[in-house]
């Protein structure tokens, strides 16, 4: 064949941080605080809802309404993001991506023929909390050109855990309105905020509903990442384009899982704001785990940046000096060392940055604390490590 075999849209998007580190984890079998999924079960009410759906009549196992059982449902937030990009991003469009970004945003924009333009969150003087990492309004504004189509934000943010405040979202909204941009807001961790931080939906700000696509995830909401049910919510005129993508890509999503998630939401709606609500219980549980892990990290000289929301905690590794200069970024080398020497798996944070900015962020690694027994094992490793450091300094 004289033409290239694979389509140009697949060029340069084949490498993936998960593939690399999942393989390492499979090889060394470390205690895995790398990939972001719980090691505990979804709540009993949602598992029961799933089993009930499964044992329901034949219709539970056949196609349901294409656009969701309702509302507009996708195969996880991942597919919702993909559909949003495919629906509104054209060749030559620019899409502003706030860094650090969940790594799939870049290849999704590229696959749609767009150009990602990056604007990093930067730590202000104090970097104890994810709230101290901020966007510069001037820097953001300077990145907007006549080709800019949309801005992608993630709040709460993965990997940083930042929960954007109303005034920060307002700054972004003002620019969206001024320059007539769309906003794709990935809010999969919307129910997981700590220390009283409030999740604010940018779509609820004035002038934003009609230009925002908000993405959600049953997997993160109900600790059932393996169900791959997510959704996109937005105004009718934007959603119709996403529906067109949907009907020409997967057309339907699994019925039983949607049914179970629907029941889960019915239950939560009834219990909203009460102590029995999973949307209260899960963040309360995770807040404790976050604290535990942060203390352990501090004890070995890793400096945690306390996340206001989400599944993850970033830690500054710069106190571990590595004089060797290598081709690979420092955090990548550190993560590999941690897997091989300490049996502990994490994810390097520069994987969530563009090549333009990644060098500034090579001193951070990401831990997932939505774990039960794995967290106990990780704590043991970190305690032992801390002990070794104390012994060697004596």
């Amino acid at each position: 064949m004289s033409r290239p075999l694979n389509a140009r849209r697949t060029h340069g998007v084949d490498k993936n941080v998960w593939v690399e580190f999942t393989q390492l984890a499979a090889d060394y079998k470390p205690v895995n605080l790398g990939q972001g999924f719980p090691d505990f079960s979804p709540p009993p009410f949602i598992q029961e809802a799933f089993c009930k759906a499964v044992s329901g009549g034949p219709s539970m196992h056949q196609y349901t309404r294409a656009f969701g059982h309702p509302p507009l449902v996708k195969i996880g937030a991942y597919q919702a993001l993909f559909s949003a990009c495919q629906a509104v991003v054209d060749d030559g469009d620019e899409v502003i991506v706030v860094e650090p970004f969940f790594d799939c945003y870049k290849p999704m924009v590229l696959m749609a023929g767009g150009t990602p333009v990056y604007v990093p969150l930067r730590p202000s003087s104090s970097i104890q909390s994810s709230g101290d990492w901020v966007l510069s309004a001037e820097e953001l504004s300077s990145k907007i050109t006549p080709r800019t189509k949309a801005i992608m934000i993630n709040t709460p943010n993965n990997p940083l855990g930042k929960v954007f405040k109303t005034e920060e979202l307002q700054m972004i909204a003002d620019l969206c309105i001024k320059h007539n941009l769309l906003c794709i807001s990935d809010e999969v961790y919307e129910w997981l905020t700590y220390d009283g931080a409030e999740h604010v939906k940018i779509a609820s700000l004035p002038g934003m509903w009609e230009r925002t696509i908000t993405i959600g995830s049953a997997g993160k909401t109900f600790s059932a990442t393996g169900w791959k049910v997510g959704w996109a919510i937005g105004s009718r005129h934007v959603m119709k384009y996403i529906k067109t993508i949907h009907q020409n890509t997967v057309y339907h999503c699994a019925t039983a899982a949607q049914e179970a998630v629907a029941h889960g939401f019915d239950r939560e709606y009834e219990l909203f704001g009460t102590p029995e609500s999973y949307f209260q219980q899960l963040p309360a549980l995770l807040q404790q785990k976050r604290k535990r892990l942060a203390l352990c990290l501090e004890s070995v000289g890793l400096k945690p940046i306390m996340p206001e929301g989400g599944y993850f905690i970033m830690a500054d590794i710069s106190s571990f000096n590595d004089e060797n200069t290598k081709d690979e970024p420092y955090d990548f080398r550190f993560v590999k060392w941690l897997i091989k020497e300490k049996g502990l798996a994490t994810i390097p944070v520069s994987a969530f940055y563009s090549s333009e900015h990644s060098k500034d962020f090579e001193k951070y690694i990401r831990f997932c604390f939505v774990k039960d027994s794995t967290l106990n094992d990780a704590e043991a490793i970190l305690r032992k490590w801390s002990q070794e450091q104390q012994n060697s300094s004596m």
Partner: protein, 480 residues
Amino acid sequence: MNTAQLLSCTRLAFQSLNVICKRSFWVSQCMMASRHTNAKRIEGLDKNVWVAFTSVAADPSIVNLGQGYPDIPPPSYIKEGLAKAASVDKMNQYTRGFGHPSLVKALSQVYGKVYGRPIDPLNEILVTVGGYGSLFSTIQALVEEGDEVIIIEPFFDCYVPMVRMAGAKPVLIPLRCSKKQFITSADWKLDPDELSSKFNSKTKAIIINNPNNPLGKVFTRDELQTIANLCIEHDVLCFSDEVYEWITYKGHQHIKIATLPEMWDRTITISSAGKTFSVTGWKLGWSIGPEHLVKHLQTVMQNTLYTCATPLQEAVAQGLLLNFDLMGQPECYFTSLADELQEKRDRLANIVQAAGMTPVIPEGGYFMLVDVTSLNQDLSHMVEDESYDYKFVKWMIKEKKLAAIPVTAFVGDDSKKHFEKYIRLCFIKVIKYSISSISVFCGEENRNLLFFCFFWGFFCHQQQDSTLEAAGNILKNWKI
């Protein structure tokens, strides 16, 4: 200012604000409309026959022989397998992106036997969201602007929009039938010279669907060889949609084009758990092919969905292993489903014939084309600019409460005139007292045949309320 005045002012202020808001909303909508239209890749792809007809047929008073999904129950072990999988903690979390390990191993076992060659579970298989998702990742991975893709008519309707979304040009070629009576799907054939003329230097791939939806054609070895020869001669890929691979009727054998000489290296074969185990709502499928092709599908997968649902994959794996052990035996679902459907096919064909319509007996798959010409139904009162079959189906849904799918949805514009007297009926439906239902179309002289079939059906199937029964009732009362 007193309270009343304050309230009045406030009310006025809100009214003004309301007007201002509405006005600026309208202005902003105009601006939005001009700037924020759809990406070019979906231009003209918004219409879809399923979207058009599924909502209409969803009315519970309509008997739906339209959309292709079973109302027979799936095997109990497959549902039990899903409940069991969901009760294991880690089965509710992410699994391997390109396919859950136990599923790809099971697929490797089953298809290794079918293909007669070892299949690498990690590099030659990709698990996707249904056959639909499999088609999408194949086309996105391997087709782009400037390419041409040959599609055989009638085709499952998503092929054309998917090829267009990838920026390529669909090139259509129809199956043609020369027989006038006692037609089966085998009588619909490709003209080899016409097929050859469609290949050129821009041709990237040909999509075949075997067994074919909507026609039910099961391609013979010779027919597949003709296609294969052209693929090899012109160095073209083959995307073979084989979701109905296990559903072939007596006397017909499903052959995988990938097993013909020199075809493995250039073929992606697409399959469906939904069609294999009668669980269309699970939306799981897989692509099988050589590593140098599958790796590009995997790239698409990791940037679109990343992974499929874990408990579903685990349950399908268990279902495959169970049936692998039974392969070749009558209890194997891969053969027993086809046996069950053959009876339904034959029964539906008899009813339809007795009612004065002409069925095209399918050699495989879930569907039957039915020629409605002889009914001479006058639809001149329907003034929409649509082909006859669209009008007929809409009329039939409204007047007779029976849903089918118009067959011109499965062909290009140039072929519409050859297909507009056909409707598609799905027969993977529960039968009980089926015959009386469809007898409405027929005259008195055929009623005896129908009542014979009725009693035969009654003794054969002791099941619950049936779609085919209801359809039969409608047809029986057609002329009343």
